[in-house]
């Protein structure tokens, strides 16, 4: 459907601008408040722009509070979640392009785990990690989220479309299996892997529940767990809380804006019509 005239076009754009503003208010308010003094943040009527912008809340997060440690832990989790994506991609390739004994059984296990709600496995996964003695350790935080059945499934769907002849030709040329995977398959699968990489990065950066359940020591806290601690311990320091939220939110928004093209195109790749 197309619009008939300029008046209609203006109405649509106006509606989008209003909607966009409503959606952005929380972000705008967060950033503006993070540069205000605590006393200004709770003044009535509120100021829109900070009267006298200050940066001290951000400095306090890293000097008096442990946000530096939280940031490092978060980056460690992000790094390993990328490694998890590599394992997912390998498995997707294995399921998509090889025939082997037990393939159907293993793949149905992937499908079953995809369909079970996370709440069902939450308690027993904790018990297993506890049984392995991994509570309050970094591996305990990382391992449960490393593999995502849905990612294996999506990547497998893509791998199936790669022609067998291509792989056979590479084998005839004497390329090893790993070389084929890294040099031929990964570049071919770039559209789907790129989307997964961005989504995995975002998910790793935002991961909250497992670090919260597994980590007892503050030295293992991630940004999101640290932020929730900050919310409880400094319940009335709103400007400080807003600065903490900005640290958490702004990097991921920047990453998203840079790579949004891949995510949006990814929805066409995964073929939902």
């Amino acid at each position: 459907m197309k619009l008939k005239n300029n008046f209609e076009r203006t109405v649509v754009v106006l509606l989008l601008v209003i909607g966009g503003l409503l959606v952005s208010i929380p972000f705008i308010w967060m950033i503006l408040s993070s540069f205000k003094r605590e006393i200004e943040v709770i003044s009535i009527p509120p100021t829109f722009f900070p009267v006298e912008p200050i940066f001290s809340h951000y400095i306090r997060l890293f000097t008096e509070l442990d946000f530096g440690v939280y940031l490092v832990n978060t980056l460690i989790i992000v790094f390993f979640s990328m490694f998890g994506l590599l394992l997912n991609t390998m498995a997707g390739y294995g399921f998509g392009k090889f025939h082997f004994r037990g393939k159907e059984v293993w793949f149905s296990i992937v499908l079953v785990t995809m369909m079970i709600p996370g709440q069902v496995t939450m308690i027993p996964t904790y018990l297993i990690i506890n049984g392995m003695g991994l509570t309050n350790t970094m591996p305990g935080i990382i391992l449960p989220g490393l593999i995502a059945a849905f990612n294996i499934f999506l990547i497998r769907q893509f791998m199936v479309t790669i022609p067998d002849d291509l792989i056979e030709a590479a084998r005839l040329d004497g390329a090893g299996e790993m070389r084929i995977f890294f040099r031929l398959i990964l570049p071919l699968a770039k559209p789907i892997v790129a989307v997964q990489a961005i989504l995995t990065f975002i998910a790793g950066w935002n991961s909250f529940i497992w670090p919260l359940i597994i980590a007892n020591d503050q030295s293992l806290y991630t940004l999101s767990v640290g932020l929730s601690l900050l919310k409880d311990e400094n319940a009335t320091s709103y400007a400080l809380q807003m600065a903490g939220s900005s640290i958490m939110v702004i990097p991921i928004l920047i990453i998203f804006v840079i790579f949004q093209k891949y995510i949006i195109e990814g929805f066409n790749v995964s073929g939902i019509k």
Partner: protein, 295 residues
Amino acid sequence: MNKKKLNLIPYIFIGPAVLLLFVFTFMPILLALVISFTNLNLTGLADFSTIDFIGFDNFVRLFQDDVFIQSIGNTLFYVIIGVPLAVGSSLIIALLLNFVSNWLSTFFRVIFYMPSVTNIVAIAVIWGFLYNQNYGLFNYLLSVINVGSVPWLEDPMIAKLSLILMAVWKSNGISMLIFLAALRSIPTIYYEAADIDGANRWQKFTKITLPSMSFATFFVVVTTLIGWFQFFEEPFVMTDGGPLNGTNSIALFIYQEGFQYNEFGYGAAASFVLFVIIIIATLIQFKFRNKDQTL
């Protein structure tokens, strides 16, 4: 010889991922089923001999537990109000985006998708501040137009609606992209033919746009529904189920039993009740869809 060597290769590719998935996701499913029939709690974890099989006691107890019954009611409330709002608003945004030029559409797609990539704790901090009864922006804006202060998170009924508003804001992005992809894939020739036949805009919308998007709509409704049945993070970070248990959901109930009261068996039993509810709701959807197609 060569053939035999080749057969090991696929296991090298799937091995690590499948092993991890088996240990940390598949085994827990089986384990959940077993422990939901036991009285496993913190003492049982320290000393396995105190664990007893208690049959269906956990399930019987669940349906006599007022907190659980209330959390089922709240969850249904979230689903019934939240799913139409979430699906409707993302559809409207997608329709509007489909009208405008490419660069405008890209710009607003990014804006509307932003909340989906934002961390839930940060959202809780920001929205908690916006919803604050004394210093919050929302109540200030309302006071400007002479509306008294609203207890956004302090009243059980309003708190549920506040959480729904926040969750719709957060979750619109993905559904919007799916709807938009579906809209873009409708051939323009359909609309041109309708123009020749003199169809008005509403007719084109109901006879061409909506039917062409039936799969996307079905997909979005099913996934949104499943997501809202598992409503967890919003009440967890914003209200912790309060006030007066008014925002507690089934998923949050499971978390509380498992990790606050360490009633692992009881919590696992509740998780199976949730699972069954989700399966039933999904099956009903598929049934309706089949009916549509045979008509």
